[in-house]
Symmetry: C2
Subunit: 231 residues, 2 copies
Amino acid sequence: MSKLTVAFLLFPEVTQLDLTGPAQVLSRLGNARIELVAKTRDPVPTDAGFCLLPTATFSEVDSAEILCVPGGVGTLNVIEDEETLVWVRAVAADAAWVTSVCTGSLVLAAAGLLNGYRATSHWASRDQLKLFGAIPVPERVVFDRNRVTGGGVTAGIDFALELTARIRGDQHAKLVQLGLEYDPAPPFDCGTLKKADRATVNRFEEIAGQDLAQRAERVKAVAHAMQRHAD
Amino acid sequence: MSKLTVAFLLFPEVTQLDLTGPAQVLSRLGNARIELVAKTRDPVPTDAGFCLLPTATFSEVDSAEILCVPGGVGTLNVIEDEETLVWVRAVAADAAWVTSVCTGSLVLAAAGLLNGYRATSHWASRDQLKLFGAIPVPERVVFDRNRVTGGGVTAGIDFALELTARIRGDQHAKLVQLGLEYDPAPPFDCGTLKKADRATVNRFEEIAGQDLAQRAERVKAVAHAMQRHAD
């Protein structure tokens, strides 16, 4: 069985579980080589207080069967960074699967890769996909042709298991799920905006609202610049 | 609010999601500093094809509010390594919470920290806890006094959310769960031995059975050596 390369884009202030969740699952495809690809080989700070170490630089990995872009606060800088978008477009062009977790879909969108595609993102950012011509869908994992997008953070595990099933069949995906003992038991039923109680949503708004609004403005500016460029 | 240190033991061939899952959750306690503590500062290879970078060495972090030991194939070497067990015992002695995910509980057990405690582990290794005087419990997250153990790999997320609720209250834990969009949707209902269909269990046995049997022998040898030492 020849090696199947799974290339994760790695960038500063990535939400590390967006990457490490699906990386765990996809490392068990049976023939996968996981690559964490960044601008340089320097350690990359994540949102969780530790660094991830790239396995390769942009010039070292220029193609992959699966491209996966994780999300996080750092995506704001990524969508403004042409060097990274050029790499994402180049790898996506020949990839069998072009994928993202959480706000990683905004990076795919800003690279022009979701125009006309159904896609999802973290619930708090999902509507921003419209700015780039994508069709936001309030689902946890969205397949549209070879684009596969997962919802916020922990959705990366579900996304990767579904992708495993597509690539290697249900039987193999079940084996991986059993091996990872994936029989989740969330302590609360509040993992989406719809399910969360009013107090939790209010508190989220209170803590993150201003920051999210500022981030939305930056995303809008990038989308408008793209639009002007295209006109 | 003073900083609360969460120290993860980091060792070669760790199952990286055992660590990165709870690290993501606990990094949102609000006042936590996540430390990945290893023998040296050298990059540590994980089971998923990439390295994690320690934030500190054993001598640099000698106490923590929360100690967490992840699992993985590498635990076999860890339970035979006195230097690491000495560090685990020392940090556990003063920790508010002594915790593990997956086969990390075998490390706690081999360090003598689960004697007489109810505990869990990856389903395929859970019974081995008995060898060290622990009481295996077929649950996903087990609290017994200040010992908290999670089941296999993905159970680390549930474990960390439950611990968050204990430390900072349900309201904060709900906020974290919503932020991580933790509303899991596993593609199959096969995440435990009990739920998995016969074909999946058979295939698991076929692929991993021999390796697991050899690992069980090594665990037994360590337990017997401890016993002889104690007699």
